[in-house]
């Protein structure tokens, strides 16, 4: 695939990529934008090269995930080394941020709330399968784990999410 082809394909994928970046950054919008920019830069500078072993979407999602992890690590180091002595850093949690809760509808808020109880890996697999409409195999490629592991995370995550939604009340009970 040529560089221009990659660029146009990435532009077409941009909303989905932003959605994935948002999830990788715990729904913190500014952080997600920065991560996505860094991921684009990696592609255009040639730091991340598409080898064609998988689909472009799978590959780019893995780049985004790695970039988010790097950024988290860098920020942690910065906080430990510098900001501890100068300014108190803002509290960072792995839970969805307030922006997500504010803009979401009731059912989406309930879903986000229920997802908080799942492990990060389970959340990621469910997101890739249900939100991004990937197959479990593609999700495993993005997360760089084995297919069996991804399948286990998917099944366990789905079961836990159902229990949480049934227990907490999703507004779906009335529809049944």
């Amino acid at each position: 695939m040529t560089a221009a082809g990659v660029a146009s394909e990435l532009e077409r994928m941009h909303p989905a990529s932003f959605g994935w970046a948002l999830w990788c950054c715990g729904h913190r919008r500014e952080e997600a934008e920065e991560v996505l920019q860094s991921a684009y830069l990696k592609v255009f500078e040639g730091t991340a090269r598409f080898g064609g072993e998988s689909s472009l979407r799978t590959w780019f999602f893995a780049v985004i995930r790695r970039t988010a992890a790097e950024q988290r690590r860098r920020r942690w180091v910065r906080e430990q080394l510098l900001e501890r002595w100068f300014v108190a850093p803002p509290e960072i949690s792995a839970e969805p941020g307030p922006e997500a809760a504010a803009s979401a509808s009731e059912s989406s808020r309930t879903l986000l709330e229920a997802l908080k109880g799942l492990s990060p890996r389970q959340r990621e697999v469910l997101h890739l399968v249900f939100y991004q409409e990937m197959t479990i195999e593609e999700a495993a490629r993005v997360l760089e784990i084995r297919l069996g592991t991804a399948r286990t995370h998917f099944e366990r995550g789905k079961r836990q999410l159902r229990q949480r939604l049934a227990g907490g009340g999703t507004g779906l009970e009335g529809q049944r």
Partner: protein, 144 residues
């Protein structure tokens, strides 16, 4: 579709995620143009260069500091005093804790006893010794 455990089924879960997706994608920021990416890259490079310059300056300062400390450190091989410096003799030296030995009556241990206090003794010679052996010869006979 309802799952066995009473929660929503797979299709409902999918529908929930899709609804969330539709909501989230209403406010997706625009895709960055190649020009803006170039600007970002330039800005990041500038920041990185500035950080590198600071790091370099910091390293240079640290190196200078270490060099100064190493140069000014006294050489342990030259630790013995020079012959010009007077050294106190060991017989004159007093330990700083000497005052602890100042006990009452200590002066008596070091002072020579005064002999006037003792009973006076006559000089002991050979003649005197003989007399003391035969007191009958020397002393006048007592009247019986």
């Amino acid at each position: 579709m309802i799952a066995e455990n009473g929660g929503p089924g797979e299709e409902e879960l999918r529908e929930l995620f899709q609804a969330l997706r539709r909501e989230e994608q209403r406010s997706v920021p625009g895709s960055p143009a190649p020009g803006s990416l170039a600007l970002i890259r330039e800005r990041r490079t500038r920041v990185r260069r500035r950080l590198q310059a600071w790091a370099l300056a910091g390293c240079a300062c640290a190196a200078m500091l270490i060099a100064t400390v190493l140069i000014r450190r006294p050489d342990p091989s030259n630790a013995h005093p020079s012959p010009d410096v007077p050294v106190a003799s060991i017989t004159q030296w007093r330990p700083p804790t000497e005052f602890l030995l100042e006990t009452p009556g200590r002066a008596m241990l070091y002072a020579t006893p005064v002999l006037e206090m003792l009973p006076s003794l006559e000089p002991v010679g050979p003649h005197r010794r003989q007399q003391s052996r035969n007191p009958a010869q020397t002393e006048p006979s007592s009247p019986r």
